[in-house]
Symmetry: D2
């Protein structure tokens, strides 16, 4: 079976829209007809052939790891799936056998492979994934946001790793993940939710996603403004660092209250300098490094928040392109003005 | 009433053994006849007039914050204490009124004052402390280790902030607090407990306190040796950083397994460089900044571990001096060879 | 100083509106000018001289334990309060010295006394309370609901003893506490919140407080209806039993899913028969007995939920009487039709 | 392939030692050569054809669900196992697809089947089990206790569902599971561990397993004796109810302190009468219904406790019979004098 796909064929910037053979199904896999894909920030190094991508990827590769679709065929040893099921894809291929996998921490599996990075992905008309990475929808109500459950799950895990009800929450960075984090915090009873973001376009999205206050990190006395917006000169209960900017990490540690919590999610491109004594020890804080989502606890929470309409992702879904228009999609996402939220692709 | 005390009278190295007036009792305080004191690492900057001490202290000051004694007199508004009670002293004067104090986090009170730093201490024959900082012993069985319950409490909190039973535990730094942490981990079912310490003298103490393996940080391939001793190439379940050495903090983050836990207790004297992406986020770890002890949850746990003889502090109590010999005591503790464990003073 | 008060002067039904001496202030107490009181279900046995009341009370007694007011005078040994402060009252006089008090469980203090039961209460113009039982408001925004923070705190603790975000929640019994529990669950991200209540009047209130579905326990197949409304044939994630009815407790245990949580709050008047094997062990559930509120963690959460307007108590505040009209108030609350929510008294 | 097995061929007391065909391997299963089996209390209703057994079992059935052995053959769709591996068997065949299975609660899977009850078991020379129910040993050090890891896991989960370090622990009932619970509590830092058991033989075993005090439930003032042995008139921190006796459950609820924890593990044969108000709500306790073990978190803890020799099961392994002698084995276990600990069978 041939299909259309976005394939990274050779080193260098860009990718190609090609006709290629649909991947073959192994016994423990399922074949999906992709319904929607979306672009993650971590797809940019692949497209631009920068950062970690050149060392890690084996080309050619169909990339893309946020996608959903209908089951076309099930492998002979799978259980629980049938043709016609609609599934979203957990991008982390966990081994299921290591200590982490057998102790409730599949998302940090020692033998992790990532779909669309270490294995063929979903910027294509068809995709195969291990059945253990497929999340079956119970009905069709979430089809349109099916590719967003993976990144939304990041935000759900990042925010809810500790309870936030009645707590002040600060979200640093309002890229798609930060925008999602705002919505999750609001839906979970956080009061107030304050966001910080440099892009004016995204500050507006942050408001639409429910932030009680949105601040520009370049404004003078940003720390004071944060504390005022969060309602306590003593500091913020919970800080969700989604940007990876070294300045934002510093702001996270300075703004959190004594005994508060910091989630570290945004990936800095370099090592950071931390005031370990003043900001970590003397404040008695907890720092959670968050990657991926709890498999599948987070998925159930994500589904519930979406189905109950506690979270509405619409404002964050700013752009949709056909698969063929992928170059436009990547340019929108990587433009310095950051005039986008989440960017989707339709095969 | 006059008494003997070690008083920091003027700026500069050292202190003086003086006759002075015993402090006056306020209504919410109790007066103690000090039975034992012990020297904390944080008493060294006071003695040597280095680091944070010159900025913070108002002289003259009787210092020392690890002590115990018998109640001589109780303030008019205190409840629950009577002459003759034996008490150990919680060195943190929490306000009891701030958010942290009213939410189970008195140890990071926003208005904290430290006995022996911001208020008169216990290197003296008598001392007054707020009644709310006194821990009453139920019998006399722990008198001899009464001044050690405060620092032991640090180790109890640092180790037990998350459960350790059946987990591998790595203790970095075997000063008195590290030695205590070894004993706490062992008594709490950790398997195995591995310690790392540069001083040969203290490595022997670490063995006596129950470490299953003790390593020299200067030995080649220390990370590999740690992993081997901890029983898993994947990393250590729980790392207790008690040294404050930048290299040790790095070792902590490198040796902990994906999804594991790091306790940050040892105070570095400078800012640190951290690989936030690789070592915190991608590993999905939890970092706890620990200062002080939970008031009074930790005290109850500490008492129970001592009374049941699950922990025996004897090997760590290497030196005892009379109050008058305090100069000797400080020299032992600050000698570069680190040929001591805990150093006690008898008034 | 004389004042008006509702006093239980002698055994038997009813109470008397009297002039009496305002209570004297001890050093660790504060004197309040009562602004609002409200009637708790546990005031009914006092008024009707039934159940536990005759054995426990020493008459004469001014009763009432839900109230708020302005500080008129502060005892000499109190800290943190000043004339003019507005406070709500924690009705549990905890000793502060027992194991529970010193381990984060003041609400189950071994030496507990209850204001308005074991000590003079707040159905009066003035009241004295230990300063450690006073919760200071940060501004005047919550004055009108100041007496409701105590019972709302029960609901906050009962619901939030485990996280509810994204979980289905079943509230059994929609008396004032059940109504509050509905609001708390909604504000905390529970989806859906289903309530069960026999009184048609209260079922309407339950809807107004935000329940997604409200059921009549006498309807046929109530268990099936609950499961349908909660969205899973497998059972409910979280059950909050607020009624104390033996049938409701049974329904709680039957409706909760395997591995789910039950909060036991409503007080049955007799012993219960439980299928310990089938309903507790084989289902692998957790049961939390809840009494009172965490002091003061729950108060901070309660304040935050009210101040952010995440919770609006208005629909539940159905009746307000002057102190003098207390007989009417008690009759409304104890009428078999249960045509009321919360009943307030204005001194 | 034929094999020897204990087979329940027809209704009525007893079973038969037969030659039968070894079970056929499905693609997701592994075939084991059984090395050791052990008898669980829940095997008695099968042998005696009493209680739940007649309704549930489909005969003929090879029963037995505690066993270990060497992998002889692996199904075509399994991953992670190879001929020669040594495995212990998790007796709960969880579906892996239901809400509970995908949310860290496989042990209460909605579609649970039990090996040796709903599927062929391990009182035989060979057995097949789903690969997802096999726990691979990392070396041969635990072969002799390989069949005991399943029941020991029950005790590990029952005791460690909340931390016990430094807490008083009361174990009610010293059958094999109670004996194991004593060892787990001791290894986990509980102080003291008090056991209650009617059989004198088992009281001696309880001492050998490490109980600090062992009491006879028929002795007068047993509640007072328990509190004295546990070291606090206020009650016990943690009660582990392993007997299923209604009197023991009552004792559990009466002896636990305010704010303490009760584990419900022993299965009563009838419904129980509980003082829900006094013993659950007013005390503010937590009750955990425990069945099975966390899959596979508990298995890792169990392995660690055994490998480190923190737990020595030897005293509890009182009888070993050949498979052929199974009638003797069942008689020892069911004798009214209860003069046994764990009973093993060697194929």
């Amino acid at each position: 079976m041939t299909m259309k796909a976005i394939c990274k064929i050779k080193a260098g910037v860009g990718a190609q829209y090609v006709d290629c053979e649909a991947p073959r199904l192994k016994p423990d896999e399922i074949l999906l007809k992709v319904y929607r894909s979306s672009i993650c920030g971590s797809d940019l190094p692949i497209y631009y052939w920068s950062s970690w991508a050149p060392q890690r990827l084996k080309l050619p590769l169909v990339f893309g790891h946020e996608f959903c679709g209908e089951v076309e065929e099930v492998g002979s040893s799978t259980r629980g799936f049938a043709r016609g099921d609609f599934v979203s894809v957990e991008s982390h291929i966990y081994c299921g056998l290591c200590y982490q996998c057998q102790n409730g921490q599949r998302h940090v599996c020692k033998n992790m492979k990532i779909i669309g990075v270490d294995a063929p992905g979903g910027f294509s008309q068809y995709a195969v994934v291990p059945a253990r990475c497929a999340w079956k929808h119970s009905d069709s109500s979430l089809k349109e946001v099916g590719s967003l459950m993976e990144p939304l799950g990041n935000a759900v895990y990042a925010v809810l790793v500790e309870e936030v009800v009645s707590r002040s929450v600060l979200v640093l960075g309002c890229g798609p993940q930060g925008l999602f984090a705002i919505a999750v915090a609001k839906a979970s009873g956080a009061k107030p939710v304050v966001a910080v973001e440099a892009s004016g376009y995204r500050r507006k999205l942050a408001e639409k996603m429910g932030a009680d206050a949105v601040l520009d990190p370049s404004s003078p006395d940003i720390l004071k403004k944060i504390l005022k917006a969060c309602g306590s000169a003593d500091g913020v209960d919970t800080v969700i660092e989604m940007s990876g900017s070294p300045k934002a990490v510093e702001l996270a540690l300075k703004s959190v209250r004594n005994g508060g919590r910091v989630t570290a999610f945004g990936i800095p491109s370099e090592k950071l300098t931390i005031d370990w004594a003043e900001d970590v020890i003397f404040k008695g804080i907890r720092i959670y490094g968050i990657v991926g989502r709890e498999i599948f606890q987070t998925w159930y929470k994500t589904e519930s928040l979406l189905k109950s309409k506690a979270i509405d992702l619409t404002p964050s879904m700013t752009h949709t392109f056909s698969l063929k228009e992928f170059d436009k999609a990547f340019h929108v996402l990587s433009s310095p003005e950051k005039k986008c939220g989440k960017v989707l692709l339709v095969p």
